[in-house]
Every structure is written in C-alpha cells, then in structure tokens.
Symmetry: D3
Subunit: 64 residues, 6 copies
C-alpha cells in the first residue's frame, strides 16, 4: 500500500520509468514489503505553478 507522490517538472517517459523502478525497489527494501505493493503517482508541475520563496519558479528562471 505504500503510496509515493512525486511532484516534479515535466519529464519524459524514460525518466518516469527510472524514477518508478528505483523508488519502488528502494522502498520495498527499506520497508520490507513486496515491490508489487508500491503505488507511485507522478504529478508534472509547470514552472509557473511552483513558488520557491516568494516568487514563481518561471520568474526566477528568467532572471538567471
């Protein structure tokens, strides 16, 4: 039943595969539960929907 949610920038399918595979195996090992019990939800968040400190991530990136 462990449920892991990942809020991340938009990524490609290969990156999703890598994250899910690595996280499920590690969680299974640390929690001592079967890999098959793991559920992972990836939530891709655009940079204008993320605040870091008091400004939007998209505004910070333009400054740099």
């Amino acid at each position: 039943m462990p449920v892991i949610t990942i809020n991340a920038p938009p990524i490609n399918k290969e990156q999703k595969r890598e994250l899910v595979s690595a996280f499920a195996k590690k969680a299974s090992e640390v929690l001592n539960l079967p890999v098959s019990a793991m559920v992972i939800i990836i939530n891709e968040v655009e940079s204008e929907n993320v605040g870091v400190g008091d400004s939007l991530l998209c505004d910070r990136q333009q400054d740099e």
Copy 2:
C-alpha cells in the same frame, strides 16, 4: 470540511457525477455531517504517470 481526493484514470463527466454523488452521500452518512460540507477533488492521472510495483502502468498494459 471533509476533503476527499480521488486519483483515477481519465474518466468522463457522467462517471465523475456518479463518484461525487455517491462519495458525498456515503461520507455524510458515516461521518454524520451535512452533505453540503463535502469537498471532492478528482485528479485524472495518465497511465504513464502511475507506477504499480516497479513499472509504469502504461508499460504493464502493453504487455497484456
């Protein structure tokens, strides 16, 4: 105030109506709170954004 979040595959509006109506009424009955207090958020998640076990749901479906 009860807030219910549903992470599900993409569904149509009639399915959303059914889920919201049934969940709000049942929660109201079990929690002994007015139906009008219920807030439900539906989060539609594509199969490439879901991990079950150590693989993406979209990859498992292709195998079957």
Copy 3:
C-alpha cells in the same frame, strides 16, 4: 491503482470500515476496475488543524 485520500475528523474503526468498503466498491463499479486495485488512505484531522472560511473549525464550534 486508484488512490483515494479522505481527510476527515477523527472517527472510529467501524466508521473507517464502512467508508473503505463503500468507496472501494463504488469506485470499482464506476471506473470498471477490480475492487482489489483500490487504495484508500484516511487522514484524521483535529478541528484545530482545519480552516473553514477565515477561522479554525475548533473556534467555530465553540461559538455554536
């Protein structure tokens, strides 16, 4: 994989059983997915940790 999260006031085990059983069956029926795929997480929230409008739920209850 559907994952349902319920934020509710503290409740007893029988109420939790009722919610989980009803929600899992209804979601299975509406989404056309096996009941066994459903994962539900109950998050019990004290009334001092809930804001409704601009005040804490615990303060509103004292007024009534």
Copy 4:
C-alpha cells in the same frame, strides 16, 4: 521546507504571483522561518473535477 499546496480554479500568471508572494511572506512571518524555505505548488482544477456537496461544481454553476 514548509510545503503549501493550493487547489484552485484555473488562474492567470499574475494571480499566481500574488498568491505565492503573499503566502510565502505570511508563512515566513508566522512560522518564523526564512521566506526562501517556502515551497508552494499550485494545482489548477477544472470545475468538472470538483465536487461540492453531492454535485459537480460545473453542474452547480450551470444552474445559477
């Protein structure tokens, strides 16, 4: 590390800027933590994905 999630109707970038700026500053002041530690995620939710009481928000709006 404080992480704030805002589920709101679709809004424009200027509204996002205002929310993030105001929330980060207020949370910093109340929690006595640096503004730079704040992370805010905005989740824009269409009205057909929100239930208020036992009906979808999009259906309630049509009635009014």
Copy 5:
C-alpha cells in the same frame, strides 16, 4: 472550494489562526471567490519526517 494544504512544523493554535485567517482572505481576494468557500488543512510534520536535500531535517538541525 479552493482547498489549501499547509505542511509545516508543529505550531500553536494562535499561529494556526493567523495562517488560516490570512490565507483565506488573500485567496478570496486574488481568486475573487467568497472567503466562506475556502478550506484549509494544516498538517503538522515532525522534523524526523522531513527530508531536505538528502538528509532528515532533524539531523541537519543537530549539526547546526
């Protein structure tokens, strides 16, 4: 319906009142929705349940 979730260190009731009051009023103003529609959930998280970078917040605090 806007639902705001705040993950923060343990805080006292007065701090919760301040956060809820300020956030609900600001969100109402920016989103142009009634204050009464706002729902806020505070989730108090112990420092051993927070990771910042690759270490637990409780371990980082001991080092300082």
Copy 6:
C-alpha cells in the same frame, strides 16, 4: 522544488534516513537538478487508516 510525499507504515528513524537519502539522490540524478532542491515528506499511516481493496489493512493482517 521537487516535492516527494511518502505514505508508509510507521518506521524508525534509520529507515527514514535511508529513504530520504536514496530518493533525493536518485531524483537529483534522473531530473538533473541539485540534491539540495529536494523536499521529502514522510507521512506515517496506521494500518487502521489504510484501505486495500474493500477492507482495512488492519483487518486483512489479522486474517493472515
């Protein structure tokens, strides 16, 4: 900013350290973002607050 939430059974501090360290490093590598940007929140959930299929996890465990 990536924010990862882990809903898991109650675990000890060493297990939390291992999860946070492994997840932050892997996410940093896959997302190509600095490890220091990662925020992880662990939510320990009692087995009576988890539904798997249509029954509580605590009831399933008693049967086995």
